[in-house]
């Protein structure tokens, strides 16, 4: 019973002491963990920085096509494509690639585009795949700085308009483009005898009060594109002060009760009155390719679709693919890039991913050719400028919304 007595005698005053000991021990454990990795991480960290230096001298892959024909690889060759989670392609098209080249395609979904690129940067010394698909212009500069890609100049680029070729060093190849545009709910405006607003400026008009829903540019890709659209339209992007022209526009939007939500899903399905989610905002930042999805009956004429696009608000978004530095199958990856620029893949993309092909004169599926109009003059900003200023712009934006 002695130990029990001791327990009792410790009773009240030991109440705190074990707690202090716990605290001390936790701190010790954390310190130990940090020190342990400090030691083991040492050589690793060293080699990484030297690897970065090496990968700056970007390797180049020789052309893979011979007389315009795809090469054949030994059976069982696998090319692994790191893609964002919206990536989709017909299985028939993938089968065609395998039949023509002997290469099987394995897709590795890696979250949204930003997450995917950052994960690829973190694992660049030992990449998860051979090819990365779906990096957009805004993420290019960071990827180039990190030496993420090898050079490959695709033969298919000849039929891609120069305006879509952002990288003259061919580290990445444009595959598709889409446009982020404000969508409107046709019946909402018709019911109220209001004209549909026709440009960014009109959203600040008091008769369109409480009509627009946008996404937070810090958490959403279309939200960021819309922010860039306002900067491209109103200017002042180089202004680091509190009053650039574009920020004044946002103040006006805020005064006109713009609704800012976290993501495209929330904006489109919960705020927008034109979707089946039945929200209370008739204007939403979405894509140029969204309206066909709301058309249920293909006999509807093109000017009577439930939703439409305010064309002058459209900001161009191009998606690229590139062969990862450190790829195990660089030639097979380059071959897949060539294939992505060929007719069967380009024609397949619109209905699979709601994007437009980059190759000139690719026929569009009926829903697309009938219910979308190609945006003639989309808004753009140079990607180097976006890369250099994006975080400041988001911070300036946040200064009035947070």
């Amino acid at each position: 019973m002695t130990s029990n007595n001791r327990t009792q005698s410790l009773g009240k005053d030991s109440f705190l002491r074990p707690w202090y000991r716990t605290a001390a021990a936790v701190v010790a454990l954390l310190l130990f963990a940090v020190i342990a990795t400090g030691c083991s991480g040492g050589p690793n960290g060293g080699s990484q920085s030297s690897m970065t230096q090496d990968s700056r001298s970007t390797p180049t892959i020789e052309p893979v096509l011979s007389d315009g024909a795809l090469p054949r690889f030994p059976d069982g060759t696998v090319v692994r494509v790191v893609a964002h989670d919206s990536f989709a392609v017909s299985t028939a098209v993938l089968d065609e690639f395998t039949a023509r080249t002997g290469v099987r395609v394995e897709i590795l979904p890696s979250g949204d585009a930003g997450t995917m690129v950052n994960a690829a940067i973190l694992t660049k010394d030992d990449p998860q795949g051979d090819l990365l698909f779906g990096i957009d212009e805004n993420l290019l500069a960071k990827a180039f700085d990190e030496g993420l890609f090898q050079r490959y100049s695709a033969s298919g680029l000849g039929s891609v308009p120069m305006s879509l070729q952002a990288d003259d060093q061919h580290r990445v190849t444009p595959i598709d483009h889409g446009d982020v545009c404000v969508n409107f709910d046709r019946s909402w405006f018709a019911d109220r005898n209001l004209p549909v607003p026709d440009d960014l400026q009109s959203f600040t008009d008091s008769k369109y009060r409480s009509t627009l829903a946008v996404e937070d540019p810090s958490s959403s890709t279309p939200g960021l594109s819309f922010l860039l659209a306002t900067i491209a339209t109103f200017g002042g992007g180089e202004d680091t002060g509190p009053n650039p022209a574009w920020l004044q526009y946002w103040r006006d939007l805020k005064a006109n009760d713009v609704s800012v939500v976290d993501s495209w899903e929330t904006a489109y399905y919960s705020s927008f009155s034109g979707s089946s989610g039945a929200g209370n905002r008739p204007l939403v930042v979405s894509y140029a390719s969204s309206p066909p999805a709301e058309v249920l009956d293909t006999s509807v004429p093109a000017d009577a679709t439930p939703t439409g696009v305010v064309a002058p608000t459209c900001y161009r978004q191009i998606e690229f693919a590139g062969v990862l530095a450190g790829a195990k199958q660089p030639r097979a990856a380059a071959t897949f890039i060539e294939f992505m620029l060929m007719q069967s893949f380009q024609q397949d993309m619109p209905e699979q991913m709601y994007v437009y092909p980059v190759v000139d004169e690719t026929p569009l599926p009926e829903a697309f050719s009938k219910y979308t109009t190609p945006v003639a003059e989309p808004l753009t900003l140079p990607y180097e400028l976006v890369a250099a200023s994006r975080e400041r712009w988001v911070a300036q934006w946040a200064s009035i919304f947070r």
Partner: protein, 555 residues
């Protein structure tokens, strides 16, 4: 060891990468982060938002726990299982449901988005089950003899509740509270969807800095801050728990739950059910209704459309396959985390040198004397509480930190799991393990050592004691823990989204894919998938609950 390999190592890897980008430590980021007033604001918001959520959940959850522990009513079993449904719902789906109730165009006409209330209600929705199931199972295992004694001696029911029942439930209430706290502390999707642009938590900042801007230094500083916060809070919980003797179940043989007898009791049941219907039922009902309303009118169109791969897409997953994948991962997670959790729980709740010869029966803490079991003295005790606290930390760590860390740390042999099927069950187990441990430790501790000793005295071996005494006595808690582990895995999205392989897409991933596309049919298909997920979890939890004997009458 498991956590060391699959949690500590990845997290430390990503934090180190952030703080020593070029081989030497750069700690200025930490200082900068602390100086930034907006970060300080975020930190305070995170702390008080989660404290408030915890208090609310416990206050509201306790009557629910009492309901399940003490009363028998129609549909009790199915309701007990249904409680876990909110827990597995992807946040974006639940978020949409809440928006259509309390959003700008909400059915209720009350707009709460952008306020703390929306966040609190949603946290309540997600975490109610944690309190009810954790406390409820402990409460049900607790005998009523002391309460009856007090009542015989003239104590009012309220007094008996306050002086006898609640103190004895203390340990499980605190266990539930600490889990709820950690969930609210690391809340991400809910804060984004319902909190508006102004409300942000540390978790949101970490996600932005890691996945969006790749500012690993800032993210590392924030992660450390989050970790320190979690450790402090856990220590406070542990301290509160230890300052009284652990509640002990005496596993009385009397049937514990019964039908309501008085009008007051019926009113109590009614009020509880009404509350659950309102807070848990409404958002779920919205989902079910949405899944049946399609462009072709009311009906099962969305469900039948799920099965057809109209465009022959590579991204298409048959819903049955997705459900199958999810169930496989969830089963693997459940097995892995319950096995590991049992080991951890028994080593943490070690009976005082039971089989080492000089075993002196530790007196069970009766009459609320402040006697602590011997094993919790000295270095062993410190180590135990340390380990126990440590096992909780994964819940308080950002999913994106763990996920990105896994990508870096688990790339090389011998831990090359990046492309293995086991990657997901392992990641899910890291998240589920804290639940299991938190539920099992108090249960194992509450087993009367006398029983084990009696068995040992009668010649039972170590394993046979464990098998015949320990296991049957805590079956109920194991079932609850297994249910949670299963549900955690079934609903996990954050880490899954970039660790999953294309060939084994889970249901939450499929839901997000549907939601990522415009068009009414995609929305109703996402809702239909959610309903399937809800049905799957209900069925499985009912089965798990059935596996245990309905009462432990043998004691």
């Amino acid at each position: 060891m498991f956590l060391a390999a699959f949690f500590v190592w990845p997290v430390v890897a990503i934090v180190t990468r952030g703080l020593r980008p070029s081989g030497h430590w750069e700690l200025t980021a930490i200082v900068d982060v602390f100086r930034d007033p907006s970060i300080t604001r975020v930190m305070w918001f995170t702390v008080w938002e989660s404290l408030l959520s915890t208090i609310l959940c416990v206050l509201v959850g306790l009557p629910g726990a009492a309901l399940f522990a003490r009363f028998e009513f129609r549909g009790r079993r199915i309701l007990w299982a249904l409680l876990l449904v909110p827990f597995v719902l992807p946040t974006v789906v639940a978020g949409l449901a809440f928006l259509s109730l309390i959003g700008p165009a909400g059915i209720t006409g009350v707009e709460l988005t952008g306020t703390i209330w929306a966040i609190l209600i949603a946290h309540l929705f997600f975490n109610y089950a944690v309190v009810v199931r954790t406390v409820g199972s402990a409460w049900a295992a607790m005998g009523e003899s002391e309460v009856n004694a007090a009542r015989t001696l003239g104590a009012s029911p309220l007094r008996a509740l306050l002086t006898i029942t609640l103190p004895r439930l203390r340990s499980s209430v605190l266990a539930a509270a600490s889990i709820v706290f950690l969930f609210s502390f690391t809340s991400f999707g809910i804060v984004l969807i319902l909190g508006g642009v102004r409300q942000r938590t540390i978790e949101v900042e970490i996600y932005d800095q890691t996945a969006r801007f790749l500012h690993l230094d800032v993210a590392a500083a924030l992660s450390i801050m989050q970790l320190v916060g979690v450790v402090i809070i856990l220590m406070l919980f542990n301290r509160a728990r230890r300052s009284r003797s652990d509640g002990s179940g005496d596993h009385a043989g009397t049937p514990l739950s019964r039908r309501a007898r008085t009008r007051g009791e019926r009113a109590f049941i009614g009020a509880n059910l009404l509350f659950m219907g309102l807070f848990l039922g409404c958002p779920l009902a919205v989902l079910v209704i949405r899944s049946f309303s399609t462009s072709k009118g009311w009906g099962f169109h969305a469900y039948s459309a799920l099965g057809s791969n109209r465009r022959g897409s590579s991204a298409f997953v048959a819903p049955l396959d997705a459900v199958g994948n999810s169930l496989k991962f969830a089963l693997a997670t459940m097995t892995l985390s319950v096995l590991l959790g049992c080991c951890a729980a028994w080593s943490l709740a070690r009976p005082p040198r039971l089989l080492s010869g000089n075993s002196q029966p530790t007196r069970r803490p009766k009459n609320r004397l402040k006697i602590r079991p011997r094993s919790r003295l000295g270095a062993g005790r410190v180590f135990d509480s340390l380990t126990e606290g440590f096992l909780m930390i994964p819940l308080g760590t950002s999913a994106v930190t763990v996920g990105f860390g896994c990508l870096i740390a688990l790339a090389d042999p011998p831990l090359d799991f990046r492309s293995s099927w086991w990657m997901l069950p392992i990641a899910h187990s890291v998240i589920a393990l804290p639940f299991v441990v938190r539920l099992l430790v108090p249960a194992v501790r509450s087993i009367d050592p006398k029983l084990r000793e009696a068995a040992a005295l009668l010649g039972a071996g170590r394993f046979s004691v464990w098998f015949t005494i320990d296991l049957p006595m805590i079956r109920r808690q194991i079932a609850v823990a297994a249910g949670f582990a299963f549900a955690v895995s079934l609903g996990e999205f954050g880490a899954t989204s970039f660790l999953v392989r294309a060939s084994d897409v889970t249901v939450p991933i499929a839901i997000y894919r549907s939601l990522g596309r415009p068009g009414g049919d995609n929305l109703s298909q996402a809702m239909a998938l959610s309903v399937i997920l809800m049905a799957a979890v209900t069925v499985v939890i009912v089965v798990i609950d059935r596996l245990r004997p309905s009462t432990s009458a043998e004691f």
